[in-house]
C-alpha cells in the first residue's frame, strides 16, 4: 500500500465538507477581507500608529469602534491596515511554494529521473522541519522582516505542493489522450505544458487556498512571538502579541479582536479551498 499525501493533513481526508451556507459565508468573508486589505488606507478611521496615551485601553466608543490598545492606538484601524501584512505574507508563501513546488513536481512526475529521486530524498528532510520551526530558525538568523519567514515557509510548503503535482502528473500521464497526442507527433514538453499542466492546475490551486490558511496561521504565530514582522507594523499576530499583557490586567479586547479575525479568516480560506477541491475532484471523477 502506498500512501500519497495529496493535501496537508487535517483537511486531507475530508471529502464531504459542508456546502451551502457555510461555503457562501466563507466565500463572502474572504472577499470582504481581501477588499478591506486593498482599500485599507481609505477606510481605516484613524492612523494605525497614532498614539493617544490618555486613551489607552479605552472601551469601544463612537470614535473607536473596537476600542484602543494599551499603547493608545485605535484597534479597528490596526485591524484594517494589518490585513495587508497579514495577507501579504501568506500570499507570498503560496505564490512561491506553488510556482516552485508545482514546477518541481511536474518535471519530477513527467520526466522522472534524478529530479524525481532528489525530490523524494529532500521531501523526507523538509517534512521533518515543521514550517514554524524553520521560520523561527531563519528569523533568528536574519532578524526582523517578513522576507525570511516567507522564504522559510515557502521552503517548508514546497514539498507538499510538489508531491501533489507529481502524483497528479503521474496519474495524468497514464490517460489515453496523452498517448494519443504523442502518437500524433506532439512533443512531450508540448503535451505536458498545453494539456497536462492545465488539467492538474485546478487541483493544485484548490490546495493552495488551503495552504494560504496554514501559512496565515504560521506567520501570525511568528508575529505573536515578536519575530518577523517589525514592531510597529500593524499585523494581526503582532496585535495579539501587543495585547497579551493587557489581558492579564483584565482588558482583553485589543488581543481578542485580532484573535477572532484570524480564526474567521483561516476557517474561511479552509472552507473555500476544500469546497473547490471537492468540486474539482467531483468533476474529474
Amino acid at each position: 500500500m502506498t500512501m500519497t499525501l495529496v493535501r496537508r493533513p487535517g483537511l486531507a481526508r475530508l471529502r464531504a465538507t459542508d456546502r451551502g451556507p457555510l461555503y457562501l459565508a466563507s466565500a463572502g468573508f474572504v472577499g470582504l477581507v481581501v477588499a478591506v486589505a486593498l482599500l485599507a488606507p481609505w477606510i481605516a478611521p484613524h492612523d494605525p500608529n497614532t498614539v493617544e496615551l490618555g486613551n489607552a485601553l479605552a472601551a469601544p466608543s463612537g470614535d473607536h469602534l473596537l476600542g484602543v490598545d494599551a499603547a493608545g492606538r485605535d484597534t479597528l484601524s490596526r485591524l484594517v491596515v494589518g490585513a495587508r501584512t497579514s495577507l501579504l505574507g501568506p500570499l507570498g508563501v503560496v505564490v512561491f511554494s506553488t510556482l516552485a513546488g508545482g514546477a518541481v513536481g511536474v518535471v519530477a512526475g513527467w520526466r522522472g529521473g534524478w529530479l524525481d529521486s532528489l525530490l523524494s530524498r529532500t521531501t523526507e528532510l523538509t517534512l521533518a522541519f515543521p514550517g514554524l520551526l524553520l521560520a523561527i530558525l531563519f528569523t533568528s538568523v536574519y532578524g526582523e522582516g517578513l522576507l525570511a519567514p516567507v522564504v522559510a515557509l515557502s521552503i517548508a510548503y514546497l514539498p507538499y505542493v510538489a508531491r501533489l503535482a507529481r502524483s497528479l502528473v503521474l496519474a495524468e500521464r497514464e490517460r489515453p489522450y496523452v498517448a494519443a497526442y504523442r502518437v500524433q507527433g506532439h512533443s512531450g514538453t508540448d503535451v505536458c505544458l498545453r494539456h497536462v499542466v492545465p488539467n492538474i492546475a485546478p487541483v493544485v490551486l484548490a490546495q493552495c487556498t488551503v495552504n494560504f490558511g496554514y501559512a496565515l496561521i504560521d506567520l501570525a504565530g511568528l508575529s505573536f512571538l515578536g519575530l518577523g514582522v517589525p514592531a510597529l507594523t500593524p499585523d494581526w499576530g503582532r496585535m495579539v502579541f501587543d495585547g497579551k499583557s493587557a489581558i492579564q490586567s483584565g482588558y482583553p479586547l485589543s488581543a481578542i479582536v485580532p484573535c477572532l479575525v484570524i480564526i474567521l479568516t483561516v476557517v474561511a480560506f479552509n472552507v473555500v479551498g476544500e469546497h473547490w477541491a471537492d468540486k474539482v475532484a467531483g468533476r474529474n471523477r
Binding site: P9, G10, R13, L125, A128, P130, I136, C259, V266
Partner: protein, 320 residues
C-alpha cells in the same frame, strides 16, 4: 531476518536525514549577514578580546567542514554548546526545562488521542446532527492557531472567570499544582490536533463503514458494537497511526506559542527567548531535538504499521 534488515535500513535512512537536518541547522548560522562572531554575539557589544575569545571558543577560524564535524561530534556526546545569553551549557538549560514541557506535551497528547478518536468515532457512527456539529466544530478547531486558543482560554477561563491560573507552570508546588497550571495550556496545544485527528478518524471510519467486509460481518450476526470496534475502527487505525508523527512534531513546535502565552517555563519558552535574543546555540539545539523526535516517532510508526496492517509489508509505506 526480514524485520531486522528493514529496521536497520530505516535506522540508516533516519541517520542520513538527521545528518541533513543537522547540516541545515548548523549551516543556517553562516547565512547570516555579517561575520559569525558578531552574529553569535547577537548585537551585544564586545571588546576585540571578547570577539577573539568567541572565535576561539567556536573555532570560527577553522574551515567550515571542520567546525561542523566538531559541533556534530560534541552533540553526539551530549554537548550542545554554551548559551551566549545565559553563559551556561545548553544541555543544562534544557534538562531543567524539559520535564515541564514533556508533561505539557503528554497532557495535550492524552487530550488529542482521547477526544480526537472519540469525536471522529461519534461523527462516523452516529451521523446526522451529531456529525454535522462535529464537522463544524472541527472546522473551527482546525482554523484556530494554538496561540489564539491560548489567548482566548487565558482571557476567558483564567482572567475573566478565574477558574484556572493564568500563567506559570506551578512547578515547585508539586505535581497537582503543575497539572492544574498546565490544563489550559494543554487544551490550547491540543485544540488544532483534536480537530485534525477527529477528521482523519471520521473519514477513515466512514470509508470502512461502506466496505463489503463490514456488511458481511453484519450479515453474520455480529453485534453492531463489535462490528464497529473490531472491523470499522480497527481497520481505520492504520490511517490514524500515520498522523502520529505529525501530531508529535506539531505538539512540540507549538509549545513555543503556548508556553509563551501562559509564561510556562519550558523548552518552548526557551526557544522563544533564545530566538528573540539571538541565542543561536540554544535555537540550534532545540530545533535539532524537535526534528530528531519527529523522525524517531515516524520510525516507530514505520515499524509498527505492519503489525497494525498485515497487508503492509515492511517498508512499502511512503513517508508522510
Amino acid at each position: 531476518m526480514n524485520f531486522v534488515r528493514f529496521a536497520v535500513r530505516r535506522l540508516l535512512e533516519m541517520a542520513a536525514t538527521l545528518l541533513g537536518a543537522s547540516f541545515v541547522v548548523f549551516g543556517a548560522m553562516y547565512l547570516a549577514p555579517g561575520n559569525p562572531a558578531s552574529f553569535l554575539l547577537g548585537g551585544r557589544s564586545a571588546s576585540p578580546a571578547a570577539l577573539a575569545a568567541i572565535d576561539r571558543q567556536y573555532h570560527l577560524n577553522d574551515p567550515f567542514i571542520e567546525q561542523y564535524a566538531r559541533w556534530l561530534g560534541n552533540i553526539l556526546h551530549g554537548d550542545f554548546g554554551r548559551s551566549i545569553e545565559y553563559r551556561t551549557d545548553v544541555s543544562h538549560l534544557l534538562s531543567s526545562r524539559l520535564p515541564t514541557t514533556l508533561l505539557l506535551v503528554g497532557m495535550a497528547l492524552v487530550v488529542v488521542v482521547l477526544l480526537g478518536l472519540a469525536l471522529g468515532w461519534a461523527g462516523a457512527v452516529r451521523g446526522g446532527a451529531t456529525d454535522s456539529a462535529i464537522l463544524v466544530g472541527t472546522t473551527f478547531a482546525i482554523g484556530t492557531p494554538a496561540f489564539v486558543a491560548a489567548i482566548l482560554l487565558q482571557g476567558f477561563l483564567a482572567v475573566e472567570l478565574g477558574w484556572f491560573p493564568s500563567s506559570g507552570s506551578g512547578s515547585g508546588d508539586g505535581i497537582a499544582a503543575m497539572l492544574w497550571h498546565l490544563t489550559l495550556p494543554a487544551i490550547a496545544l491540543a485544540l488544532y490536533l483534536v480537530g485534525m485527528l477527529a477528521r482523519v478518524t471520521r473519514s477513515a471510519m466512514l470509508e470502512q463503514l461502506t466496505s463489503e467486509h463490514v456488511a458481511v460481518a453484519r450479515s453474520r450476526g455480529i453485534p453492531e458494537r463489535h462490528v464497529i470496534s473490531r472491523h470499522v475502527f480497527r481497520n481505520a487505525l492504520g490511517a490514524v497511526l500515520t498522523t502520529a508523527g505529525l501530531i508529535v512534531s506539531s505538539l512540540l513546535v507549538c509549545t513555543v506559542l503556548v508556553e509563551t502565552a501562559f509564561s510556562v517555563g519550558g523548552v518552548g519558552q526557551l526557544l522563544e527567548l533564545s530566538s528573540t535574543t539571538k541565542d543561536f546555540p540554544v535555537v540550534q539545539a532545540i530545533s535539532l531535538i524537535i526534528v530528531a523526535l519527529f523522525m524517531t516517532v515516524n520510525l516507530i510508526i514505520d515499524l509498527l504499521l505492519p503489525v497494525v496492517d498485515p497487508r503492509i509489508t515492511l517498508g512499502t509505506r511512503a513517508t508522510g
